[in-house]
């Protein structure tokens, strides 16, 4: 048991969570005061920041803030350090507190803002907003802490020694599954504590939009604080997603090396798509099937634990006679990613199911409709957009995943994410940028395909009339 590394991990996670909450709180203040298109744009930027793959952000930071980076002269901090790792993790996770806090304020009664019209500025934040956001702050602190604690790829690339790395190194040097799994208890405890706490304090996701409250919110926030929040929030958005995307698209090497990277990486690109698509579909399907079952919450640890640990477990389970076909083929990637993302799929499906018209489902049941008929005629037409959105989120998660598949990738199963991760160990170059761009295009592919399909369907329907 390496207590120093565990302490290091907790320090990194704690500092990253604190910084992420600070940034997220400021963005939430700015976001809640906006309405219409500006609010939508800010929400999209926040979601984009949350959706960016960690290695893409690391790649951009290495290019910009690394030892030979363009900004290194202006901001001469050592990226390959505790500070660099914390800053980078905070830039990845700030959207979680921002969206949760924003959601808490959006769901508050609008009359609350009008209760004391003289309450302005900092007093308004301290006496009205903070009590409303306290639970959301605690929830996001827990979430970011656990996610940062079990983050492996960013500290590994930045060569910051953390506890999951100890697991990885121990397993890699001794190949002792038992020892690695026994060592992992601190990584298990924190997610379990978080899950237990979240079970008692469920997250309130945004539902309705109360547009009437934004004007009052802005007025009570005050012009000075509003401008400060806008400036600081803008800075957060520039740091992420602005810098990573700007670096990616603005570097000439990205474009000059795109064609060679595509030609040399066609197999990996195809593999990435499959490895993302199949587990996403499987996870959504399974999640939907057991959406009403509470025991499926038992799969949460698979999501919160370090992916490396899941990989070690899968090697232990499948490297044996009779399961060799799983171990030596991409089936192990499908299995691993499905297990890892089953809990978010189940949770999403559960939320979607709650929003369905229960009376319609009951009517179908009473009318003698079979399960398949209820699915095709009642559930699917209602839940289609949400289920597709959930599937897309899982597709992205699987597409970016490096930690789960790093140890279990079979011959010929290399994905683009894994290739980027491996190349990043030797620092940034145009090839990595080109591969990141390729990965982003693959991420956008389902959206493009969906849009085209929807338009074709709409055109066909229009023609039919």
């Amino acid at each position: 048991m390496n207590w120093t590394l565990l302490l290091n991990s907790m320090l990194v996670a704690g500092a990253a969570a604190s910084l992420a909450i600070l940034g997220g709180f400021v963005v939430a203040l700015w976001l809640t005061g906006q309405s219409g298109g500006r609010r939508t744009a800010l929400l999209i930027a926040s979601v984009a920041a949350a959706a960016l793959p960690p290695f893409l952000v690391v790649n951009a930071w290495i290019d910009l803030f690394g030892r030979t980076g363009s900004f290194h002269l202006w901001l001469p901090f050592e990226l390959y350090s505790f500070t660099g790792c914390v800053a980078l993790l905070a830039s990845l996770f700030w959207p979680i507190p921002a969206l949760l806090i924003h959601s808490a304020w959006r769901q508050a009664n609008p009359e609350l803002w009008e209760a004391d019209p003289h309450l302005r500025g900092v007093a308004f934040v301290r006496q009205l907003l903070w009590p409303q956001a306290r639970t959301a702050v605690a929830q996001s602190a827990g979430l970011v802490f656990v996610l940062a604690l079990n983050q492996f790829s960013v500290p590994a690339i930045l060569q910051v020694r953390i506890y999951p790395e100890e697991l990885w190194v121990r397993f890699n040097t001794t190949f002792n599954h038992g020892e690695a799994l026994a060592l992992s208890w601190p990584m298990v405890i924190f997610p379990l504590l978080l899950l237990a706490w979240l079970a008692r304090h469920p997250i309130n996701w945004p539902r309705g939009v109360r547009t009437g409250s934004t004007v009052e919110f802005r007025r009570q926030l005050g012009t000075g604080l509003q401008r400060t929040c806008a400036a600081l929030g803008g800075l957060v958005l520039v740091i992420s997603p602005g810098l990573p995307l700007g670096q990616l698209l603005g570097t000439p090497g990205t474009w000059t090396q795109f064609a060679p990277a595509l030609a040399a990486g066609r197999a990996a690109a195809g593999q990435s798509m499959l490895v993302a698509l199949v587990p996403a579909v499987l996870a959504v399907g399974l999640g939907w099937c057991c959406a009403r079952r509470r025991w499926a919450a038992l799969f949460w640890p698979a999501y919160f634990l370090p992916g490396v640990l899941l990989g070690i477990g899968l090697i232990f389970l499948t490297n044996r006679n009779g399961l060799e076909w799983v171990y030596s083929s991409v089936a192990i990637l499908y299995l691993g990613l499905t297990l890892r993302y089953l809990a978010p799929a189940w949770y999403g499906a559960r939320l979607i199911r709650r929003g369905l018209d229960q009376e319609l489902a009951d009517a179908g049941r009473l009318g003698g409709a079979t399960g398949w008929q209820r699915w095709t005629l009642v559930d699917w037409p209602q839940a289609r957009p949400q289920l597709l959105a959930l599937g897309y989120v899982l597709y992205l998660l699987c597409l970016w995943d490096v930690e789960t598949i790093n140890l279990i990738v079979p011959p010929g199963g290399e994905t683009l994410a894994l290739r980027i991760f491996n190349l990043l160990h030797y620092g940034h170059n145009g090839e990595v940028n080109a591969l990141c761009l390729l990965l982003l295009l693959i991420a956008l592919l389902p959206l493009a395909a969906g849009t085209i399909a929807w338009r074709l369907l709409a055109a066909a329907k229009g023609g039919g009339r």
Binding site: A264, C290, N321, S328, P411, L423
Partner: protein, 373 residues
């Protein structure tokens, strides 16, 4: 489900066994919340219970459909013990064709030409990163690069450190993330560097003097984009695996750019991240492709002779090979990185039949057992 239908329930009552089954299902569903969706989610574990718990077996050796090599012999398996590997990254040889392998744990292992484990030692410093890049000097000693410590080590075949040199820096004569090493016929030592420098320098045999520096970052002739492995042919020409430019570049002994070949892709003759290159006495060039998990052999005119391997775990197949070495008999040793093993491709001119029983003998003796990953 039958128990939901009152009509079928009556039928079930007529058949006691089905009735009990239905009752059991209903109880499981009502009391435990378990139903078919539970089974769906737990199938991987159920599958496990249905299978035996012993590690799988695979053959150690397989004949190859190759003009140059008769068969592939697997050396080692995944693990941390003697003769086992974790992502072997570089292979090298001493004057007696003994095989040296450095893996991701920073351990160097020595094997006999037949693949018998002989000895091992751990590199003393691995905190910053692990060693990679090997070659043999004219005295039969092993040269090993430590990229993150910016130095080159000379080891005797018994593992004694004989000499160590290298100063960190980007100036000529200094080293910044050296990656690979190749010894020229004149005894000079070529060292490739990536990241900050993207260059290849030639040092005197003791490393004290920098004789030459070529390259720089870019895609043009003579420029590099992560030069990985390097090899020297009998004429002293330097061959460079320019990995992220997906090509091989050839330079004269005095560092003059001669030619380049290869383009990105996965068709024969195309390349995806060439990580290493070796040249035999006939001028044949063996290119180890990380991205396509194969070895391509080109003649001295850069024409493709044959493609060996592809992604897979059978002997003769590879998974992200990192490095190769050619012994004095023309056998090719491959660091089959992601398969956590080394493979030796036996030259066809030798009597392969004589070698193959040896592999079986070893398997019977239990000296080296080879399992997949």
């Amino acid at each position: 489900m039958s128990w939901k239908d009152p009509g079928q329930r009556t039928k079930a009552q007529e058949m006691p066994k089905l009735h009990y089954l239905n009752a059991g299902c209903r109880f499981a569903r009502w009391r435990l919340g378990i139903d078919w969706s539970f089974v769906l989610c737990c199938w991987p574990f159920a599958l496990l219970l249905l299978t035996a718990c012993s590690p799988p077996d695979t053959p150690d050796s397989r004949s190859l459909d190759s003009r140059l090599f008769s068969h592939a012999q697997v050396i080692g398996e995944r693990g941390g013990g003697a003769g086992q590997f974790n992502k072997p990254r570089s292979v090298g040889l001493d004057g007696d064709d003994n095989i040296f392998v450095i893996d991701m744990t920073g351990r160097v292992q020595k094997f006999s030409p037949d693949g018998e484990f002989l000895l091992s030692w751990q590199m003393p410093e691995t905190d910053k990163g692990k060693a990679k890049g090997m070659d043999t000097d004219p005295d039969g000693n092993v040269l090993l690069i430590e990229p993150h410590y910016m130095r080159v080590n000379h080891f005797a075949p018994d593992g004694r450190l004989l000499h160590q040199w290298g100063r960190e820096g980007t100036n000529t004569g200094q080293l910044i993330f050296p990656r690979a090493v190749a010894v020229a016929p004149d005894g000079g030592i070529w060292v490739s560097e990536y990241a900050f420098a993207e260059r290849i320098q030639k040092f005197s045999a003791d490393g004290a003097t920098c004789l030459l520096s070529i390259g720089g970052p870019g895609r043009g002739p003579g420029e590099f984009n992560r030069a990985e492995g390097i090899g020297v042919d009998a004429d002293g020409n330097l061959h460079v695996a320019d990995s992220c430019n997906h090509r091989i570049q050839v330079f004269s002994a005095d560092g003059r750019f001669l030619r380049a070949y290869g383009r990105p892709g996965n068709q024969p003759g195309e390349m995806s991240y060439p990580f290493d290159i070796r040249i035999d006495e006939a001028g044949r060039q063996y290119v180890c492709e990380f991205g396509n998990s194969r070895i391509q052999v080109f003649d001295r005119e850069d024409r493709l002779i044959e493609v060996i391997g592809g992604p897979g775990r059978a002997p003769g197949q590879f998974s992200n090979p990192w490095s190769i070495a050619l012994d004095s008999q023309g056998n090719l040793i491959v660091a089959d990185s992601q398969n956590h093993r080394v493979q030796k491709l036996w030259r066809r001119t030798q009597r392969a039949e004589v070698r193959e029983p040896k592999v079986e003998d070893r398997k019977q003796n239990g000296s080296v057992t080879n399992h997949p990953l």
